[in-house]
Symmetry: C2
Subunit: 361 residues, 2 copies
């Protein structure tokens, strides 16, 4: 079992990584302060893991469960409102704890509900997808989508503990697994060159879901992300490097409609675009772009724009992205392998050229 601490002053919390953690009360109970809990999960995850989590909660006075519909399309204010309805109908008070059991969508909505319910109650994350384990576990970003933009409504809100059980990855569909690997690769690219090289050497073990390799990759990814977040909790500066590939990726998701491409798939293609653009600016060699593309392909991830998506569609969607500061497009690009930086003076022509090289029409 690995345990790492995300250092955020009084909002610090541990991430526990290992196997057979779900039904084990000892990892959960020290972090629940009141006598009421509400497990928020979805219709896909509930049949697989809910009963084990409920076992660990058997000593509480009030244990409620809410099953949300599965999918990014339901990551809306309306769905979060269903959580509020249940909490109020069942008279949960300020000392209740919400437990998110599921992937990133469940975690984002549960965290946001916890941030807003009675102006803030406790919240525990049990991420059951690789993406949620290596991404949502660290950083405190919670929220929902709006028809005009992804994650446009939300809060920075930290969990009391994150429990990442590797066993839950065994049932993960192949596309979702790959989507998680995309974020893992991202950490290597932006801030951890040795990890990127380790990933190149071990990608086949990871794709075979070797538990040892997975636990190592999750632990290292969370540490990399925690180091960046600890420096900049509210994303005013350096933390933005975590958005490497995301500005392009969000454009893909927005234009394709949420749910057609998985987030990690869109980010994978977005990372190739960002790498290509870094090369066009003269920062990195063409060979590194090829290594990025090859590693993502080995992880069975897309490395080009969706068929038929135009450069115009990209640029238009990117203009409402959160990374836009007073009209200037800020992009995260590579200065070298393991070294990302924020650039806000990229000429539009260069962006178009990178998009076209990556298949935009």
């Amino acid at each position: 079992m690995h345990c790492l601490n995300v250092e955020l002053g009084e909002r610090s919390y541990p991430i526990i990584i290992g196997s057979q953690l779900l039904g084990d009360a000892q990892h959960l109970l020290p972090y629940i302060r009141g006598k009421q809990v509400c497990v928020v999960t979805n219709e896909t995850v509930a049949p697989l893991y809910l009963s084990r989590v409920l076992e660990a909660l058997s000593e509480f006075d009030k244990v409620d469960t809410i099953e949300l519909p599965d999918g990014e399309a339901f990551k809306t204010l309306d769905t979060v409102n269903r959580i509020f309805d249940l909490l109020l109908e069942r008279r949960h008070n300020r000392s209740t704890t919400l437990i998110a059991l599921g992937g990133g969508v469940v975690g984002d909505m549960t965290g946001f509900a916890a941030a807003c319910y009675q102006r803030g109650v406790d919240f525990v994350q049990i991420p059951t997808t690789l993406l949620a384990q290596v991404d949502s576990s660290v950083g405190g970003k919670t929220g929902v989508n709006h028809p005009l933009g992804k994650n446009m409504i939300g809060a920075f809100y930290q969990p009391r503990v994150v429990i990442a059980d590797m066993d839950t990855l065994a049932t993960l569909p192949e596309r979702e697994f790959s989507a998680g690997i995309a974020e893992v690769i991202k950490y290597g690219l932006i801030c951890d060159e040795p990890f990127f090289c380790w990933l190149e050497d071990n990608i086949s073990r990871l794709m075979a879901r070797d538990p040892q390799a997975l636990a190592y990759a999750v632990d290292r990814s969370c540490r990399d992300k925690a180091a960046v977040v600890a420096e900049d909790e509210r994303e005013s500066g350096r933390r933005a490097i975590l958005n490497f590939g995301h500005t392009f990726g969000h454009a893909i998701e927005a234009v394709q409609g949420y749910g057609n491409w998985l987030h990690g798939e869109a980010v994978a293609a977005g990372m190739v675009m960002a790498a290509e653009l870094s090369h066009l600016r003269g920062s990195i060699e063409a060979g590194l772009v090829e290594r990025v593309r090859a590693l993502l392909e080995a992880a069975r991830l897309p490395t080009a724009a969706p068929q038929g998506m135009t450069t115009e569609a990209f640029l238009d969607a990117m203009a409402v992205d959160k990374k836009v500061m007073d009209g200037r497009l800020r992009l995260v690009l590579l200065r070298a392998l393991g070294d990302a930086q924020i650039i806000d003076d990229t000429p539009r022509e260069l962006i178009e050229q990178a998009l076209q090289t990556c298949g935009a029409t």
Copy 2:
């Protein structure tokens, strides 16, 4: 012009109190960081004061305005979502500033929208009612109602500056003015005996809306509240004394339906109930309860339960109140004039007796 600083570390902000402040850019501009602003107001306030505020904002690239329907009934997640719609349609980015121009409802919703839009943007408050000036100006409480409870969804979120212009009180309807006085009286009762005595001596000047008396009362109320909030920003302890009269008051509002009784009216009746209960517990003399009742009556405020409201209805509504901790009802009671405390062991029978003394059936 008075200026006081609410001390909350890096979230400290000033409250500027005076006359002819609305159209004066110098009080506003130092607190707006980006080039975009959005003024959120309502259909009642807009015709009175919006044009003066817009004058002060003439130098910005993008100034949008949204007029919400007026009233507590519209303090909902749906209405806040209309603010998000506008911000996204008009492409407001993370460096935008929301300006709340209106009473508590506008302030609460605008603050909550600012807390959640892109996970937090800047926010300025221009409260135009007495209640908003002495209550919402300090404390960072933002949020909306839910059909099952008042202020059940929200965030703690601090403005960059509050501008309280006494001129806006001239147009305030009489009931709303009195409702604001209820909160002013509350500060005297819970933590400021000399101020309570000053209010007894000056209540007729206040009711005649003497500008000098008003500015003194607003300044003193904000200082009293700021002192309590500075000790306990997130309401884990002592801050709860600010809820004096509110547990009973919220029950009145919930049962009557929001909007029939004004918040301050419900709090006024609630304060008499809390004072009565303090007396029944033996903490204060009957004479003090009478002084409270007399001062509230001089301010033309209700001092008894709504006609026909039962003790059962009170107790039922109070059980979902935020002040309930693990099933025990926590109430704010008086130990003496100017000295409130939190009590969680009041017998149900005593509460019923206090309610009946105050007209509950």
